[in-house]
Amino acid sequence: MHIITVGLSHKTAPVELRELLAVPDSRMGEALQRLRTYPGIKEGMLLQTCNRVEVYAVVDQVESGFSAIQEFLVDSHLSLSAEQLLPHLYWHSGERTISHLFRVTASLDSMVVGEPQILGQVKEAFRLALTHNASGVILNKLVKKAISVAKRVRSETRIAENAVSVSYAAVELAKKVFGNLSARTVMLVGAGEMAKLAAQHLVNHGVRQVLLTTRDPVRARSVANRFQGLPIPFEEFRSEMAKADIVICSTGASHYLITAEDVLRAVRERKNRPIFLIDVSVPRNIDPAVRDVDNAFLFDIDDLEMHIEQNREERRAESVKAEVIAHEEVEVIQKWLQSLVATPTIVALRKRAEDIKQAELAKAFHRLSALSDQDREAVEGLASAIVNKLIHGPLVALKSATQSSNGSVYIDAARRFYDLDMSGNPQGGDSCVSTPQEISDQAKLNPSVAQVDVRPLVDPKVSHESQK
């Protein structure tokens, strides 16, 4: 059994395509159930955000799993052809799938590294997969681990500490001036989207009152209602400015609406209490000369961009630490998967030995039909003793293999020496060559062992190195 993922993200596909791929929430349940009907798919989860659409699945065979998921994606979005979709997809299997899931959940693969929404989106995708019984033991364990890794990254690094959006940067800078924002008043001059967003953030951070002015009094009233704010006639906003601690300006005007004299007057009226001005309009609406007014702090869109660019750089530096954490955790989960693979190998080895013993005994008794019951018991005892002694060493080694870092080598060796992979490896890489006779023998001998072959999940480098 293999863990794979197929999907596309902001890194591989344009937004037009991502939009087309999104499955409406109302149809997620149906989509998950349909995913399970594709051949070879044992478990599945569908993760979709505005920046990515990904299918995680536990499948019998990697290659057929990839094509099944591809088919699923095309079938789910009839407006898209396979030719349109294929160039934008990425495929991961085994360790890379785990690592990818961990990085995505920890917001290391996000467009804005460190953004907090992705964790909630993964949780939601997982919840849906659980509700519709699409996920199973392996995916459940993996996704839960991914969520805990994301939390660890958030608590141990500063990846999500600083603002990386313009509207939020306004809040962060306002806090540098005022500390606590409760009992503060913000004035919106003009009501551009970015200004409204910034005002919303400020209100969420406790700003008490919103004053609002636009040239169109009707619009002023409607926007003011949204913030339970107070509309102010446009002609009077300059004289009212002294009441505002924070002024956000975003109009379409082509000239300076607020001059240094206006601000100077406001600061005087405020008895030198600082005033914080944000100009998000292009061209600018606040005279840059305001910078020279004492106790007035003016930030235009470039200043805010510069601020968040610095924060982004810090996030990039922090993401290195986060990558290390994700990598560590991939190793942890691999140990678990290893134990998952060791147990069935032990069971299969016991069964194989027992089957060979029984088959050989049957052949022998057929030839030696004259044996007394006592002799038969003695021969059976002899066969059992030989078989048990022969497999004792390998069994002990396999049991301890789950604890060691190169356990996969033992498991792999046992499976080869005792020919436990009767169907062969689907990728054809490392299974031993069997004659048709042997394969049919194995099929007879070994029909019911529940094998979970997750060897490709185990780091191939480790086994190669150990083999050297």
Binding site: L173, K175, K176, V177, F178, G179, N180, R268, R270, K271, N272, R273, P274, R291, D294, N295, F297, F299, D303, M306, H307, Q310, N311
Partner: protein
Amino acid sequence: MTVVFFQITLGLYFLGTVTFLICLVRRSEGLSKVALGLAGLGFFTHTVALALQLWSGDELKWVTFQKAMSFFSWSLVLVFLVAATRQYLQVLGSFILPLAFLSLVSTAILPAEAPILHPMFQGVWVHVTLSMLGTVGFAVAFVAGLMYLMQERLLKSKQFNVLSFKLPPLDFLDRLNQRSILLGFPFLTLGILTGAISAQISLGAYLSWNPEQIWALITWVFYLIVLMGRVTVGWRAKKAAYLTIVGFAGVLLTFLGVILKSSGASVS
């Protein structure tokens, strides 16, 4: 024994100062804890040293400038350690500890035997203690003003670095400035009154117009004006920050007056 403890304290304050200054430009939780630990340890040895000095008895009536400065340094660190438990205020250490260290250094540099006043008036230590507590308030106001100007400069020039991250918000610093003066002022007032009384007893005149008294009065009037100015004409924010820095210079000149007077007294 006392000397040894003072020397250990001096060493710890020095290390604390260096660590706290590094903390200003580097973001490291561990380093902040080390700095705080050094300050705490230094405060402990300082307390022991002061206690030993008190117990040694007869020295008490000989209130020297050194002892006053040592007490000032000790009170500063005490105020910081109490304040450091609050949000934003750990960064105070980067400013207060250097000040405390320098005050303690001054006790080591200045001539050892220079009593402030002739030991005729037993209660002179009341005057010194009150004045020093007032000075602690002004020192914190000075530090708040300094931090205000730094943060203001960083915001104006749009520099968002570790320092701007560590420094508290402007509004917080402005209120810290005001409250420190409000706390320091009554102590200074009482300090000056008790000083005048002790002068009357020892020298026979409430006011003899020596540099110490002149600067003390100027400082007192200055801080009174600063406080009034805030309420009436809005001397807050940047202006208040500048004024408290100037005011603290007045305090330092008063100290200088004390030293000059003492050394003059010891010569005569």
